[in-house]
């Protein structure tokens, strides 16, 4: 709880600052006040009718949050590339009671295959945690926007010794106003085998559902509050019961959504 308060105070002060900058003019800018700032990022090569493709980098902090019961989580990604071909890094880290529960990093080649869909191929690494093993997976995923504006990220993971896993994620953004945005999301994990080393059991393993209300000071900077629900199923739940851990939990969260 103390952590939540600390982060809340930190966020409040940053927000206040952002709002101050924002206040003068209906602009979102957090630029340096330099009088030349509007000339930045011009390409240096000779310009021939702008036929070069611009390569961009986007860093997305989807969720950086603290949770009740001394928990915290980060879900973020980074992409680099052009319109059709990109390199993606995705990470998910979850901590509870001062311990890292899981931490993973994916490195993916992403190719646009349809107007709203990217095919993503690469590797996922689960970091070695206390009392667990590290694991490597090959990843094939589909990331994009489904009809009715659901943001979908789904991936099949194939590990060593024929292990397999499937993850489905979906998120929706409901604009209450232009700046208040309510965002429900759900993540479901399946595994193809039992692995007591990582407390994952075959079949439906866990569901995580969240509801977050963010305020976009700018489209790039939005603190939020929300609620997060997690439940383990089947053998995964059994493994955890043996260890005396909770298999279902609802927590309040407070955090930051941002990109640049």
């Amino acid at each position: 709880m103390k952590k939540i308060l600390t982060l809340a105070v930190a966020l409040a002060s940053v927000s206040a600052q952002a709002q101050q900058e924002h206040g003068h003019h209906d602009h979102h800018s957090r630029e340096p006040t330099s009088a030349m700032s509007n000339l930045e990022h011009a390409p240096n090569q000779p310009d021939h009718v702008m036929d070069h493709e611009v390569l961009l980098t986007k860093v997305i902090i989807d969720q950086l949050e603290v949770r009740e019961h001394d928990g915290s989580a980060l879900e973020g990604s980074l992409w680099f590339g052009g319109d059709l071909n990109k390199l993606w890094l995705k990470t998910e880290v979850e901590r509870e009671n001062g311990e890292t529960e899981n931490a993973e990093l994916q490195a993916l080649y992403s190719r646009a295959v349809a107007p709203y869909w990217d095919l993503q191929l690469g590797l996922r690494h689960d970091f070695k945690l206390e009392g667990g093993d590290s694991r490597n997976w090959a990843t094939i995923g589909l990331n994009g926007l489904a009809p009715y504006f659901f943001e979908v990220d789904s991936a099949l993971f194939l590990g060593e010794d024929g292990d397999s896993a499937l993850r489905l994620e979906a998120e929706y953004e409901l604009l209450l106003t232009q700046q208040w945005i309510l965002s429900p999301e759900i993540e479901i994990n399946f595994y193809g085998q039992n692995d007591p080393g990582t407390n994952t059991g075959s079949g439906l393993s866990d569901i995580e559902a969240g509801l977050r209300l963010r305020y976009e000071f700018t489209p790039q900077f939005a603190p939020y509050i929300g609620v997060n629900y997690e439940k383990k199923f089947g053998n995964t739940a059994n493994f955890l019961r043996v260890e005396g851990e909770v298999i279902s939990e609802t927590t309040w969260v407070i955090g930051l959504h941002a990109w640049l």
């Binding site: 003068h24 003019h25 209906d26 602009h27 979102h28 800018s29 630029e31 006040t33 009088a35 030349m36 700032s37 509007n38 000339l39 930045e40 990022h41 011009a42 390409p43 240096n44 000779p46 310009d47 021939h48 009718v49 702008m50 036929d51 070069h52 493709e53 611009v54 961009l56 986007k58 319109d83 059709l84 646009a112 295959v113 349809a114 107007p115 709203y116 869909w117 926007l145 489904a146 009809p147 009715y148 504006f149 409901l174 604009l175 209450l176 106003t177 232009q178 309510l182 489209p219 990109w259």
Partner: protein, 636 residues
């Protein structure tokens, strides 16, 4: 006698210049006699007018402050806009352009018919102007009217490199006026254009602050019920399209300028009651389409894209990026009038004042409602063609002489031509109208190229989507595109019924003088404007510029270009080097344009005479669409 826009009293020494902010009070007055001091000295300089046939233009950085924040513009001869260049038809002009920037630059003379190596497009006409270099442009001036110039390098158009060109005719001007003012509209951002572009690529709706909310949904449900709302929303949801996607870049970052002055600075022009005032309105914005009106005054449109047209009197008109319109107004009262230019998405406006006295100003009207896109704008309309036909009938006050089948009503004809196109796009075309179509076609096409549709009336060809349109870069294809000719455009369609304002459409425009090239088109190119808003990719036929082959034209040929807009945005399409002869329904008086607005989910066609050898640019003039929605046109 014409009294020209010649604010020589404003050409202050550079050191005395003060720059306009959005919070400056005090008007900038044009039209005061030379030497008389005015509020202009308080607010900032207007661009000089330079006359003659020899010009030295210097491109340099310029400190500016439009919003209360210090920024740096790229300016010609130290002003934004750059100087008004006044030429004389028949002269040969020489322009020495010196680049004082750290980057390459260029100047393109927009709408000018000139040799391709003088057109100022880096990579096509020449290699650009390197830092420290001077490039000399020299070409004969073979036309008259209102045009403009701007950089064709990088995104310099966004940061100030633009100005007006006014060419006096060799023969007496058919447009009589007592006062003559340039009104150049533009959009300014304190952000770097590269940052704007990057933000759009990362989040296409970044600048849209009118996205659909839960409140909008609730309102709809209350008015229409859940079932109807669900049906209405269905297609948008399935297609993942937003009906609020009007402008990519909005008043969220833009401050809109009139002759370089913010709405607060209030650019003003003087008149005496009863005088005829000619306003040469130029849209020099990077991304902003404006709707122009002067509450209390009728505007008589006398020229479009520099070319004289048969005068049309309207209350309001839309001006696409890079278009120009000349209008004449005659204020009967001794009062001030607001020249109001609201953006197509109603996220902001530019504003100025026509006034009999520097101290007088008029009320600034509230902006009109913000438009919402309809199925029609997706090119899926079942009724739009009817509307087009009706519009033609209502508005066509023109004499339709010169047609072989003079017994025909013009409105009728447009109507059926339109129907036909709509029908061909339909999957479920169990209609009898196919027969009408055949009869109609055979009725007035006797020539060899009868299948093309007669010159002046537009394309008859069915809309076909190329295979290249089915990739990740294209999010929509208009299956039943409407005809854009009689469409005033999104947000203006009901202004006649709602406010009683007559709005100009392309269908109203007839050239003042007869069509020069009377040939029928030998062939037709159907070109689709395509894009993906989510990925912020733009292209033609689904192929972006860097992957595309040039469009090859044979020197001397007469062809038709039929544009099909497979997006929900209004695109101003600009062909360099040759006229776009817009087919507005009268083969004898085909208006000549350099930039043509293509309505969302609609088609429009024009004729081109390929009478200029060389490599030419052909592109959407929305600056951040240009990297993709661009073709080289090569005339050999």
């Amino acid at each position: 006698m014409n009294r020209f826009f010649d604010p020589s009293s404003k050409t202050l020494p550079v050191s005395r210049r003060r720059f306009v902010t959005g919070v400056t009070a005090g008007a900038v007055i044009a039209g005061l006699p030379a030497g008389k001091s005015s509020a202009a000295e308080v607010a900032g300089p207007l661009p000089q007018a330079l006359r003659g046939n020899h010009f030295d233009l210097h491109i340099n950085y310029l400190p500016v402050n439009f919003t209360g924040r210090a920024r740096t513009a790229v300016a010609v001869n130290g002003s934004v806009p750059g100087p008004v260049l006044r030429w004389k038809e028949g002269d040969t002009v020489t322009l020495n352009v010196t680049n004082h920037l750290a980057h390459d630059t260029s100047i393109h003379w927009h709408g000018l018919i000139l040799p391709s190596n003088m057109d100022g497009v880096p990579g096509l006409s020449f290699n650009g102007i390197r830092p420290g270099e001077t490039f000399t442009y020299q070409f004969p001036v073979t036309q008259s009217g209102t045009y403009w110039y701007h950089s064709h390098s990088d995104f310099q158009e966004q940061i100030g490199l633009y100005g007006a060109i006014v060419i006096d005719p060799a023969a007496p001007d058919p447009v009589a006026s007592d006062r003559d003012y340039v009104v150049l509209l533009s959009d300014w951002s304190d952000e770097s254009p590269h940052d704007i572009y990057a933000k759009l690529k990362k989040e296409g709706h970044y600048y849209n602050r009118r996205r659909r909310t839960a409140g909008d949904l609730w309102d709809e449900i209350r008015h229409k019920g859940v079932a109807q709302t669900w049906r209405d929303r269905k297609m948008w949801n399935e297609m993942r399209m937003s009906d609020r996607d009007i402008s990519d870049v909005t008043g969220y970052t833009y401050t809109y300028l009139m002759n370089g002055q913010t709405p607060d600075a209030n650019w003003s022009a003087l008149f005496k009651r009863g005088e005829k005032i000619r306003l040469r309105i130029i849209n020099g914005a990077a991304m902003s389409i404006f709707d122009i009106r002067i509450p209390g005054l009728k505007m008589t449109v006398v020229a479009s894209d520099g070319q004289n047209i048969e005068p049309v009197t309207v209350d309001e008109f839309r001006i696409g990026v890079a278009e120009t319109y000349d209008v004449v107004v005659e204020p009967a009262d001794d009062r001030a009038y607001t020249l109001f230019a609201q953006t197509i998405d109603r996220s902001g406006f530019a504003r100025g004042t026509l006034t009999p006295h520097p101290d007088l100003r008029a009320e600034v009207p509230a902006m009109d409602y913000a438009p919402v896109l309809t199925h029609r704008d997706m090119g899926m309309d079942h009724t739009g063609h009817d509307m087009g036909g009706m519009a033609a009938m209502d508005h066509s006050s023109h004499n339709m002489g010169g047609m072989d089948h003079s017994g025909h009503d013009m409105g009728d004809m447009d109507h059926s031509a339109h129907d036909m196109r709509g029908m061909q796009g339909m999957d479920h075309s169990g209609h009898d109208s196919d027969m009408d179509h055949d009869q109609h076609a055979s009725h007035h096409m006797a020539g060899r190229n009868s299948d093309l549709g007669r010159a002046g009336f537009g394309s008859n060809a069915p809309v076909k989507h190329h295979l290249s349109e089915y990739g990740p870069g294209v999010d929509m294809r208009a299956e039943m595109p409407a005809n854009g000719l009689h469409d005033p455009g999104i947000g203006l369609r009901d202004h006649q019924t709602r406010y009683g304002r007559r709005v100009l459409t392309y269908g109203d425009i007839r050239n003042l003088t007869p069509t020069i090239d009377r040939r029928e088109p030998e062939r037709e190119i159907q070109l689709h404007l395509t894009g993906n808003m989510q990925r912020y990719m733009w292209s033609m036929d689904g192929i972006k510029f860097s992957d595309a082959e040039p469009l090859m034209l044979k020197y001397g040929e007469r062809l038709r270009i039929n544009l099909v807009n497979d997006t929900m945005m209004t695109h101003p399409i600009h062909l360099h080097g040759m006229w776009s002869e817009l087919e507005t329904g009268d083969p004898d008086f085909i208006p000549r344009k350099h930039t043509v607005l293509v309505q969302p989910g609609s088609t429009i066609s024009y004729l081109v005479t390929a009478d200029a050898y060389g490599r030419w640019a052909y592109h959407c003039h929305l600056l951040y669409h240009m990297p993709g929605m661009f073709r080289e046109v090569r005339v050999v």
